[in-house]
C-alpha cells in the first residue's frame, strides 16, 4: 500500500512541485494519477521511489517511511518497485535481452534463470524473438514494451509508470496498458501517471487528479 500524508515538495528556487497532497493507493489496486503537464505527477512518483525527499509530510510504502530509506533499505525499497518512464530509460547500446535482464543480473541471479525469465516476459509484452535486437533500432512502442518487461521481470509488488503511453500511438498505448492490467491481475499494485483523461475515463479505474501541485479530485469515473 502507498500512502501520501500531507506531502509537499518545495524546490531550491522556491517553486512548489506539490502542496499538501494526501491520498492512498491500496494493495493490488490499479490507480491513475492524472493531470495536465506540470501538475506534479512525476514529482509524486519520484517521491514514492525516493529519488527525492518530501519537504513536508510522510510517504509510506507498506507502512515504511520512504524518507528514512537509505543505503541497503533504499535498495530493498526500490527492488519492490518496477519503474516505467515516458522516455524509456533504456541503455540503447545494449540488446533487448541485456536491458530486460538487468534487474535480475543486479540481484545476482543465474544465467539460466535470467534467460528463462527474459524469454517469458518478452513473450508477455509481445516481443518474442527480439532478444538480440539493439534497443536503438526499435520503434517507440517496442522500446516502451522492453521497458515494461524490464519493470515486470523482477516481479515487483508496485509498478510506477510515468506517462508510459505519452510517446505512443493509440494501438501501442493500449497494449502497454493491457500488460499493466495483466500485472495488476497477478497482484501488483499499479500506479500510473497519465495526462490522457480519455484513457482514465475508459478504464473506469480509481484516479487521483492533480492541478498546479495540488490534489483536486480523487475517485472513479
Amino acid at each position: 500500500m502507498i500512502q501520501m500524508l500531507s506531502v509537499s515538495k518545495r524546490y531550491d528556487d522556491g517553486y512548489y512541485g506539490l502542496r499538501d497532497i494526501t491520498f492512498k493507493v491500496g494493495p493490488s489496486k490499479f490507480v491513475f494519477l492524472t493531470g495536465e503537464s506540470g501538475a506534479g505527477k512525476s514529482t509524486v512518483l519520484r517521491l514514492i521511489y525516493r529519488a527525492e525527499r518530501p519537504t513536508n509530510g510522510t510517504i509510506l510504502v507498506d507502512g515504511a517511511d520512504t524518507a528514512a530509506a537509505h543505503g541497503g533499505s533504499l535498495t530493498t525499497l526500490r527492488r519492490r518497485m518496477g519503474m516505467v518512464f515516458q522516455d524509456y530509460m533504456l541503455l540503447f547500446d545494449r540488446t533487448v535481452y541485456e536491458n530486460v535482464a538487468l534487474p535480475l543480473a543486479v540481484r545476482g541471479m543465474g544465467k539460466g534463470i535470467i534467460s528463462q525469465e527474459v524469454d517469458k516476459y518478452l513473450d508477455q509484452v509481445g516481443l518474442s524473438g527480439y532478444q538480440h535486437r539493439r534497443c536503438c533500432s526499435l520503434s517507440g512502442g517496442e522500446k516502451q514494451r522492453v521497458a515494461l518487461a524490464r519493470a515486470l521481470i523482477a516481479k515487483p509488488d508496485i509498478i510506477l509508470a510515468d506517462e508510459p503511453t505519452g510517446n505512443l500511438d493509440l494501438s501501442n498505448g493500449e497494449k502497454i496498458v493491457e500488460v499493466l492490467h495483466d500485472a495488476n491481475r497477478q497482484g501488483a499494485t499499479v500506479f500510473m501517471a497519465t495526462h490522457d483523461l480519455y484513457l482514465v475515463q475508459s478504464t473506469r479505474l480509481p484516479f487521483v487528479r492533480l492541478r498546479g501541485g495540488r490534489k483536486v479530485e480523487e475517485g472513479n469515473f
Binding site: A51, T75, F85, D87, M89, L91, V106, G108
Partner: protein
C-alpha cells in the same frame, strides 16, 4: 561479481572505442616515460662529454719523481677533479709521433725532448673548470695551466640550453599526460552517467551503482598499462641503440634501472590520476543516486 562481469561486457561491447582509449592512454604513458628516460640519458651523455674536457698542468722541468707524485696525489684529492694522469716528456713525445707520423724525421732529428712534463686533469664538471685551473696554477711545481676555453664555454652554454629544453619538454609531457588522462576519464564518466541512473532504477545495490564507473576506469587503465608494458621496452631499446650509435664512447648508465624508474614514475602518476577520476566518478554516481535523479533520468 556483477560489476566485474558488466565491466568486461562493456569493454567487449565497444572494442574499437575501448582499444582507442586504452592505446591513447598508453601512448601518453609511453611518451611521458620516454621523455623522462631520455632526459636522464641526455643528462648522462652531457656529463660524459664534459668528462672528456681536460686541463693541462705543465710542470717545471727538472722536477723529481717524488715531487711529481706528490703533486699528482694532491690534484687527485681535489673534489672538482674526476681523475688526473701524469704524462712524462717521453710519453708526450711518443704521442706526438703517433699523432703526426708525417713529421717522423723531424722527431728523429731532435737532440733533446722539448715536451715539458705535465699532469692532465679531468674535471668533474666543466662549470668549475676556470676555478680549478686557477687552483692548479697556484700549486708549487706547476709552471702553467692550459685548457680549451672556447670549447668549454660552448659546452657550458649547450648544457644550460639542453637542460632548460628538457625541463620544458618534461613539464609539457607531464601536463599533456595529466590532461589527456583526465579527458579520457571524464569521457568515460560522462558515457556511464545514464547507466548509473538506470542501475539505481532497476534496484542495483549502492555498491553496484557506485562501483560501475570506477570499475570501467580501472579496466581501461589496466589495459593501457599492458600496452605500455609491451611497447615501452621496445621504444627504449630503439632509443638506446640510436644513442649508442651516435655517442659510442659514452658509457651508458644501467638502462634497466633508468627505464624501470621512468616506468614506475609514469605508472604512479597514472595511478594518481586514476584514483582522482575514480573519486570523481563515485561522487557523481552518489549524487545521481541521491538527488540528481530528476535531471538524470526523467528529464534527460
Amino acid at each position: 561479481m556483477f560489476t566485474f562481469k558488466q565491466t568486461l561486457r562493456d569493454l567487449a561491447r565497444h572494442p574499437v572505442r575501448t582499444l582507442l582509449v586504452s592505446i591513447l592512454i598508453a601512448v601518453l604513458m609511453v611518451a611521458s616515460a620516454g621523455i623522462y628516460a631520455m632526459s636522464i640519458d641526455v643528462r648522462h651523455t652531457i656529463s660524459e662529454i664534459e668528462r672528456t674536457h681536460s686541463v693541462n698542468a705543465y710542470l717545471l722541468r727538472g722536477l723529481d719523481q717524488t715531487s711529481i707524485q706528490t703533486l699528482l696525489e694532491q690534484m687527485q684529492k681535489n673534489e672538482a677533479v674526476a681523475r688526473a694522469e701524469y704524462v712524462s716528456p717521453a710519453d708526450g713525445l711518443k704521442k706526438l709521433e703517433t699523432q703526426y707520423p708525417q713529421f717522423a724525421s723531424v722527431f728523429r732529428d731532435l737532440t733533446r725532448n722539448p715536451i715539458p712534463p705535465l699532469i692532465r686533469v679531468y674535471p668533474v664538471s666543466v662549470q668549475g673548470i676556470t676555478g680549478l685551473a686557477a687552483e692548479l696554477r697556484s700549486l708549487a711545481g706547476v709552471q702553467s695551466v692550459e685548457y680549451d676555453e672556447g670549447s668549454v664555454q660552448g659546452m657550458a652554454n649547450a648544457n644550460v640550453f639542453v637542460h632548460s629544453l628538457l625541463l620544458y619538454v618534461l613539464i609539457l609531457a607531464g601536463f599533456l599526460f595529466v590532461a589527456g588522462f583526465c579527458l579520457m576519464a571524464f569521457s568515460i564518466i560522462n558515457g556511464k552517467r545514464k547507466e548509473t541512473a538506470v542501475l539505481s532504477v532497476v534496484g542495483a545495490s549502492n555498491l553496484q551503482v557506485l562501483l560501475s564507473t570506477p570499475a570501467h576506469l580501472v579496466a581501461v587503465w589496466a589495459l593501457a598499462s599492458v600496452f605500455f608494458a609491451v611497447v615501452f621496452p621496445s621504444v627504449m631499446r630503439y632509443s638506446t641503440t640510436r644513442l649508442k650509435a651516435s655517442f659510442s664512447w659514452v658509457t651508458p648508465e644501467p638502462a634497466g634501472v633508468v627505464y624501470a624508474g621512468a616506468a614506475a614514475v609514469v605508472l604512479l602518476a597514472s595511478l594518481a590520476c586514476l584514483l582522482l577520476a575514480c573519486v570523481i566518478a563515485t561522487v557523481l554516481a552518489y549524487r545521481i543516486d541521491e538527488e540528481q535523479r530528476r535531471e538524470e533520468t526523467l528529464l534527460e
